[in-house]
């Protein structure tokens, strides 16, 4: 292949990356505008505009498969998850944000978004590493965006953990290359004989990804980060990079490197169980509402993990379903936390000052109930699909660890009710509630209502999600 052919093929392949290209140009534009104007409206407009263009491009994307000399592998999940991420980024605009540092904020959100989109599509091990670093570095900086001592501390903690895990990952990548001479996931999937070095290498590589999805023991950064980062950044971090990591890891788990060596999968199952337990138990004793929700988010990582390990069509669709429900729930819950925190309600006992704001309280309760997984909200369907997937996989695999996963997940659901219920309990059930109650703006009430309507709708018409997926798929075909 001569140089000219290579260049044309690269140019052709670049069509598959129009979405990311748009986002990158958008982020540069945001920076440039920020140099001259301080108003955040224009920044937000550019942000929203490039996201909308990206959604359009993402839906009409026709190149599927391995592109750019084994660097990128565009799969169907990466396309519809891409649309979900872009939507989540759009919804981030619902959060109130002052003009201060708006340029940088949206620039880093955009960077994290590009990193996450590419992370799902990464095929070359190098690209995997780079995208994870891109996401991590934007997260480190965003964590510090409240410019308080506490968030600085959280940022450093996050940075240190991130540095260690990425070093381990890099070591793993080296081992893989040393063991096989192959540097891409598709390549790894094709080799037949696997030596120990490669297996260990893949195991170490997983560490870096599991760090992003906050699986125990790489979860320690989560509570501090979510608690002290700006709320909108925390909401974004709890959804997009996590789901991107899960989509990536789904492809890694499908490799026969992993299925041939039972111990990696066994370990991951056990870590998943530990994640659920840690998240649930950790949330029990929290006083700060946002910190409690962060532990809940850790537990949800544990609930999401099985979908990536189990390779069946049920699991794939259930994963998509859970992901959408999770995205709406988390956006909703962080939006609510933000509204209350703006009125100086941070710890659980402080929620009793909101006793008279019944409408917001009711909406908040429904979102929390959805996080627990009770009917009649989307969270229940998500849990139902999770349990069904585990049941089905247990029946077909007879693996006892899956049964334990199911049992722990069920028990953790009961446990999670206890701590999620603390918020409604303090809002409505407090005895010494003051007569003066905080009030919310009409806009906040409307947005809160929209989130709850979304969750109710997903419960009563669960087909919506599948229709959406088919819609995104059909356009591609």
């Amino acid at each position: 292949m001569n140089l000219m052919d290579q260049l044309t093929s690269i140019l052709n392949d670049l069509q598959g990356l129009w979405v990311e290209t748009t986002l990158i140009f958008g982020s540069i534009l945001i920076l440039l505008v920020g140099l001259f104007r301080s108003s955040s409206i224009i920044t937000k407009l550019i942000f929203a505009g490039s996201l909308l263009i990206a959604v359009r491009l993402n839906i009409s994307n026709e190149s599927v498969g391995v592109l750019l000399i084994d660097s990128i592998n565009i799969t169907k999940p990466s396309i519809y998850f891409g649309s979900l991420f872009l939507m989540v980024a759009l919804l981030i605009l619902l959060f109130q944000r002052s003009n201060k540092h708006a340029t940088e904020f949206y620039f880093f959100i955009m960077a994290m978004l590009v990193g996450s989109m590419l992370m799902m599509k990464a095929d070359s091990l190098l690209i995997i590493y780079l995208t994870i670093e891109l996401v991590s570095f934007s997260s480190y900086i965003l964590t510090n965006f409240t410019f308080k001592k506490q968030s600085f501390e959280a940022g450093i903690k996050y940075l240190l953990f991130g540095a260690i895990s990425s070093a381990i990952m890099l070591f793993g990548l080296g081992l893989i290359y040393g063991g096989t001479g192959i540097f891409s996931i598709t390549g790894l999937g094709e080799i037949s004989s696997i030596n120990l070095i490669t297996t260990v290498g893949v195991g170490l590589m997983l560490v870096g990804v599991l760090f992003k999805i906050s699986i125990v023991p790489a979860h320690i950064w989560v509570p501090a980060t979510y608690q002290s980062a700006p709320v909108d950044a925390a909401a974004f971090m709890s959804i997009v990079p996590k789901l991107a990591g899960l989509v990536l890891i789904q492809r890694v788990f499908a490799l026969n490197v992993i299925s041939n060596s039972g111990w990696i999968i066994e370990t991951v199952w056990l870590l998943g169980i530990l994640t659920i337990i840690t998240g649930t138990l950790g949330a029990f004793r929290q006083l700060n509402a946002r910190r409690m929700i962060s532990f809940g988010a850790i537990a949800h990582s544990g609930f999401l993990l099985p979908f990536t390990i189990i390779n069946s069509s049920t699991s794939h669709e259930a994963f998509w379903w859970y992901a959408i429900a999770y995205a709406i729930m988390n956006l909703g819950v962080f939006y609510m936390l933000d509204q209350y925190e703006r009125r100086n309600v941070f710890t659980l006992p402080e929620y009793k000052t909101a006793g008279r704001a019944v409408w917001m309280g009711a909406g908040f309760t429904l979102i929390l109930i959805s996080l627990v997984g009770l009917p009649p909200v989307a969270g229940f369907m998500a849990k139902l699909f999770l349990f069904s997937t585990l049941w089905e996989f247990y029946l077909s695999s007879d693996s006892i660890v899956v049964l334990w996963y199911l049992i722990v997940a069920v028990l953790a659901t009961v446990g999670s009710l206890f701590y999620y219920l603390q918020i409604p309990r303090h809002i409505f059930l407090s005895k010494d509630a003051p007569d003066q109650s905080i009030k919310f703006s009409l806009l906040a009430k409307i947005i809160a209502t929209l989130f709850t309507i979304g969750l109710l709708l997903l419960f009563f018409v669960p087909k919506l999600v599948i229709v959406m997926q088919q819609l995104l798929n059909n356009v591609n075909e």
Binding site: S312, F387, S388, W391, V414, L429, K431, P462, K463
Partner: protein, 527 residues
Amino acid sequence: MQNTLTYIFLLPILIAFVMLFVPAERRSVFRRLSLATVSIQLLLSILLLINFDKSLVTDSWSGAFQFVEKADWIFMSLGSIGSIRIDYFLGVDGISLPLVALSTFVLLIGVVSSWNIQEKAKGYFILYLVLSSSIIGCFIALDFFLFYLCFEFMLLPMFFLIGIWGGERRSYASIKFFLYTLFGSLFILVVMIGLYLSVVDGDANTFSLVQMLDGNYTSGSVLDPESPQLIFGYSARALAFIFLIIGFGIKLPAVPVHTWLPDAHVEAPTPISVVLAGLLLKVGAYGLLRIAYGIFPDAAMEYATLVAIIGVLSILYGGLNALAQRDLKRMVAYSSVSHMGFVLVGLASLTAIGFSGALFHMISHGLISPALFLIAGVIYDRTGNRTMENFSGLASKMPVYTFFTAIFFFAGLGLPGLSGFVGELMVLMGAFGSSEFSLWIGILATLGIAVSAAYFLWTIQRMFYGKYFVREASWEVNMVDITIREKLMLIPLTILVILLGIFPRLILDYSNESINFFLQQVSNLMP
């Protein structure tokens, strides 16, 4: 009669939705609307009772239900599970129809009893109506998913109704109630998923209870009785049955998972206690009857002794606890535990008379226990106190109140001529005639009646006989006999309790064919 069940089921939700837009200041609107709604429900359920074909004989469950309504609700293909199919599927048979009628009646009593709720009346009545929808839904749902939805959705309104309008330790009691019941219902959820993966309607997996009752299993599936499978070394069907016993047993409540009940009752406001004791416990019993016993009769036979022992334990332990209480409401709450034990024994006997007795006892207790809570509420409304030793000689001061108390206490202890007697007698006949467990169960259960006589009579002696006395002088002015509104609630209950006591066919005529068919199915499935 088309769509009557839907009207009964969804009308309260609709009205609750309308109430959302009524300004909270217009307090009396809410109670009037609620009263109208529940009255319409009661009228509709009477219509159903009149039009029900009591003599319908069928040969399969799919023909056993009347007033059936079916519509597609959720139909989506989900990977290799095939397509998920959830129907909006309603219908009643001779077992559920009396319970529906009971529900609408007790809910009406509950609204009348809520008449004086002033604080946050809007929220109260909205939650009350949502609760009433979900209770009715449980009894008429023929789709397991719909049943589970209603079963779970009772928790949230109940949590707030106890937690906001309750007494001193309401926060503790409501959370305890919520956690206990959710813990139980997740066991039910797991069984539901297992059944869903095992039962087919045509070629799609289904949540339809009718198909589950008819036993349309895919061969080789996990709960298929033809191919026993082991989980942790236990038979999957036996495990599923045990799970259901735990799940519904918590709701029932059975000893040793009953501890949420006294707390919830003591803290709940009177109308909510009425609904809780009258209906929510019946939902647990109905779930046991319809789902645990209907779908897993083989396991039910295997574990008959276990269930019967739990039942007897509930009867005796609940009774002895009631004997030890000083709080009138707590005593009534423990008596509920004791009475629900009879339902368990009746079910465990797996005989026609035991089953009929269990159902009859459910109805009868659904009338007696609301009355008992109303009676406890009468004292509490006047004095803010319910401790028994603070009162004595009330018979001379409040004769009408004493009259009603005596009637319902006697009904509770099983005096012949009142409805409690018939239910207990039938259950005991079933227990003695059962081949599933030894005579001891029946003997111990009979002993339970003696215990109940002890605590009811002792309470009458302590509170109503002797010299008139109340602890605080300030209560004196309030000690008037019962008001018109209280009579309005107690008189219909009295009439029904007496009517059912002397003429039990009123219920049994409805349930006979259904229960015969039920047991015939059970014996078909028995090896």
